[in-house]
Symmetry: C2
Subunit: 336 residues, 2 copies
DNA sequence: ATAAATGGCGAAAACGATTTATATCAAGTG
DNA sequence: CACTTGATATAAATCGTTTTCGCCATTTAT
């Protein structure tokens, strides 16, 4: 690797001057600056990020933390897309990303220790279990963080509009004449809470009675569980006309359950999902769902995190909500 | 952060001794070693990875390179699972991973420059376009690399058993009585070549005539294109009884095309995919496909890459093939 | 004309680790 | 007893940057 010293030798100046020229300090003449920039380019110079980090205590590296319990993390389209836009934006701003996890290496460091070891400048936390010890340590550490879909005191959070999204979905199916609505919820989490709140509010404001027997606890991203619950719901004598699934992926389980019961969508029963993943628009009938703007969420998360890093004086408490949009498929039928 | 010096001061020894004790060198007495290890633990010491990297020229960081053309990279289940197992294995061995791409930061570095800038110890390359300039530079640089599903001279490659997998699929459908087989290929690539080879070999050895009009060029991971091609294939007067799709994801397009044409699977036509992604076993009818062992591929890739890094003397030319397995769904019917 | 301010540059000290060469002291050897 | 050996420990150089401080030569102000 070509270093500052190499340039300094070739140009007959000191390394200090080269460093300053390349970093745009003002106490170097235009002439020498030109000369040095040119030499740097010709010699193919790139700063050694480790040396720079050692001196400045800034790595230009962002930690990505997500709980990988079932190993489904990356295969979850929501995370994959989020990560993708986060990464793209971060790179544009000169930051790389590194996965942060626990149990790294032979000394089995904790997640927070991992952050410290790699000296990440900031961390984005996007996962389902925000109550874990791991998350707690990082959130209460001294590294700037941004969370996705969960709010901590005095920390920046980027939120999908879960409550409003759910309301829009309810409004939509109600406008189609449905009043007998069942809802299979996802795992206990703030996201699930928000969606439930939206669901209930919308129902109540539309004068719809929320039947507690039709409010089931399921899992996110779990077609099998959803299959079971759908069957259970639809084998009762009193049946809903519309089913809300935990999310689009789980909805596939619901689709299969209905098919296995000989029920067709939307003729016999209507179905809505949540997320707007690609598959939801490929299956048949197309799923009516609420598409979260993952690209925007990731992008804003990157911007916010980097702003937090580069302008520490900024008042940090902020909740930014990103709107999604309803995707009208053909899984909900017009009643009567 | 607590540094070696902090420990040395507290224990009344030199930093050199602390360093040696912690790194397991032999020229330090058992007594002082104990004392120092204990102190390090108590003080919550973790080495500063930047400082260490600066001195040793080893970052314990692996670069992950994949072409993100359509932005579908991470959302592609094959890559997501591969990356996941790669990352898990790498972390167990003390390595972190960093995405390597082009256009980083304000000086728009090339992919190879990015590697140099971050000083990654090795790079895993998994992408569709191995002919790009970016890949070329990295492959011909001085950084250890491992490629997935593509072979470069004198480089380690981990290959999925594309040829054998295809043969097994052909054998399977032939055993079900099919002889009229159409094949929609994926993008031009070594993977596509291998699969085509497997397809042709198996057909020929079974005495099946490969109808060139039924050998179409499609795209991987592209349901829309596959939808079109499927419709085209099935609107000819002479129809195949079995369709080979580029991959499972694309197969959804095929399913939809057939459904839209009023054809049912497998009664009117049989379908097989490739990959074994989760969805393939969730759709109905379950897709018969060949499941690539992504977990194993990723794991082996990590092991190989790290071995290349840590034992540079190892003879490096190696092609490791990882077997998959046929997943029997219900999308292929028994003929006659 | 003298003093003060300015502009351009370099010397040197960090940052936190690893490593080489060296020093110290004990014990073992002839 | 003088000498080598071996075991421990240390000092100091080094990796490639950044940054503070000071130096010198000009320019500007007094």
């Amino acid at each position: 690797m070509v270093s500052l010293k190499d340039i300094s030798v070739r140009c007959g100046v000191s390394v200090a001057t080269v460093s300053k020229a390349l970093n745009g300090h003002k106490d170097v003449s235009a002439a020498t600056r030109e000369k040095l920039l040119k030499a740097a380019k010709e010699m193919g110079y790139f700063p050694n990020s480790q040396a720079r980090a050692l001196k400045t205590n800034r790595t230009h590296n962002l930690g990505v933390m997500f709980l990988d319990e079932a190993g489904s993390g990356l295969t979850h389209e929501f995370f994959a897309k989020l990560l993708n836009s986060f990464k793209t934006k971060a790179e544009m701003l000169g930051y790389d990303i590194t996965f942060i996890s626990k149990g790294m290496g032979k000394n089995k460091m904790s997640t927070y220790e991992h952050c410290k070891y790699r000296n990440v400048d900031g961390v984005i936390i996007a996962c389902t279990n925000f109550t874990s010890q791991d998350v707690y340590e990082v959130v209460n550490g001294d590294i700037p963080i941004v969370t996705i879909d969960h709010i901590f005191d005095c920390r920046t959070a980027i939120m999908s509009d879960n409550e409003k999204g759910m309301q829009k979905l309810v409004d939509y199916v109600v406008s189609k004449g449905h009043t007998q609505i069942a809802y299979i919820q996802g795992n206990k989490s703030s996201v699930a809470d928000k969606r439930l709140a939206g669901f209930c509010k919308a129902c109540i404001s539309r004068g719809i009675n929320v039947n507690s027997e039709w409010l089931l606890c399921g899992d996110y991203h779990n077609p099998d569980k959803t299959y079971e619950l759908t069957k259970m719901l639809m084998s009762q004598k009193d049946r809903p006309t519309c089913l809300f699934m935990p999310d689009d992926y789980s909805a596939i389980g619901g689709y299969n359950a209905l098919k296995d019961m000989g029920l067709s969508i939307p003729e016999d029963v209507s179905v809505v999902g949540y997320d707007g993943i690609a598959y939801s628009q490929l299956i048949s009938p197309k799923l009516t769902t609420y598409s979260q703007d993952t690209a925007k969420i990731g992008e804003i998360a990157a911007e916010q995190l980097i702003s937090l890093i580069e302008n520490p004086q900024t008042t940090f408490t902020e909740v930014i909500t990103v709107d999604g949009e309803l995707l009208e498929g053909s899984s909900v039928r017009q009643l009567n």
